[in-house]
């Protein structure tokens, strides 16, 4: 659910064009992370949202949210988040580290990079339409 990670930085970049969306989304995302409750951020994902995980697994919005609900983070950190706006679209990239338990109950200890694609919808809300992650080869 890298869109949620990338979202935090949007308040100061692309989403700053829409302060209501930016501040509200940040709070919502922070709350979701604190509580391990992805339901709070579901409205920020477009209906056609597609997630591509580091292992190449592709999931829809519903599948991604279901996986996120089953994932329990103990520690999450992100770094080097950059946002570039392209009119009504924006690209957020960054570095992500997480520890916890993944959706299948296995220990999670990962270091990845992500690219999130955000689109300003006709109703003015920014939504994430695609998120893609890859592992960092050491």
């Amino acid at each position: 659910m890298w869109c949620l990670v990338g979202l935090l930085s949007f308040g100061s970049a692309a989403l700053s064009q829409d302060s209501t969306a930016g501040s509200g989304s940040e709070k919502q995302w922070l709350q979701s992370q604190k509580t391990n409750n992805p339901d709070l951020v579901a409205p920020l994902l477009a209906d056609k949202f597609v997630n591509t995980a580091r292992d190449g697994k592709v999931t829809s919005k519903a599948e991604s949210l279901a996986a996120a609900k089953a994932t329990k983070y103990e520690a999450v950190a992100y770094d080097d988040v950059k946002v570039t706006a392209f009119g009504r679209a924006a690209i957020a990239t960054g570095d992500f580290k997480a520890k916890g338990t993944d959706s299948s109950g296995k220990p999670l200890d990962t270091h990845e990079r992500f690219t999130d694609t955000w689109v300003k919808m006709p109703n003015g809300q920014w939504q994430c339409v695609a998120s893609h992650q890859s592992s960092i080869e050491m």
Partner: protein
């Protein structure tokens, strides 16, 4: 038919036309993006930097399957680097989703065998590309690929 009935028929007909035009436009965009996707890979196979110059947006970023980032300049330098050699490269399963008239995201599988920056890489990756319509020209704003498990 009453005036109200006629008006209803006209509204329904116009709605159908609008929906048809919209779906047609989405279909055209998807077709165009698929063609551009193929052109992009063809140019990559030939180390042809001119295509990238024209079709990568300023601010473009590429995330590769081994976790490195590349800017537009980095990407073009790699294409111009004659020590990078592509033995093969095929894209398949291209799917395009459009968002309004100026944004599209393509997902596809890319299987390649190449010598890149002195490292031999032969693998199948799955990629997501974001396309933006820049004054009538579709350009790639971002691409990100990751390894497909088991391939």
């Amino acid at each position: 038919m009453t005036t109200r009935g006629t008006a209803l028929v006209v509204i329904v007909a116009l709605s159908c036309v609008a929906l048809s035009v919209n779906l047609h436009a989405q279909g055209d965009t998807a077709k165009q993006i698929k063609e551009l996707q193929q052109q992009s890979r063809d140019a990559q196979m030939k180390n042809d930097a001119s295509w990238a110059q024209q079709h990568l947006a300023d601010g473009f970023v590429a995330g590769n399957s081994w976790g490195d980032w590349e800017t537009k300049d980095d990407f073009i330098k790699d294409l111009e680097n004659k020590t990078n050699k592509w033995k093969s490269g095929n894209i398949s399963e291209v799917q395009v989703a459009t968002f309004g008239s100026n944004t599209a995201v393509s997902h596809y599988t890319f299987t390649y065998d190449a010598e890149l920056r002195g490292t031999h890489r032969a693998r199948t990756v799955i990629c997501s590309d974001t396309w933006i319509n820049d004054s009538g020209t579709w350009k790639t704003a971002a691409t990100h690929c990751s390894m497909v498990k088991g391939k």
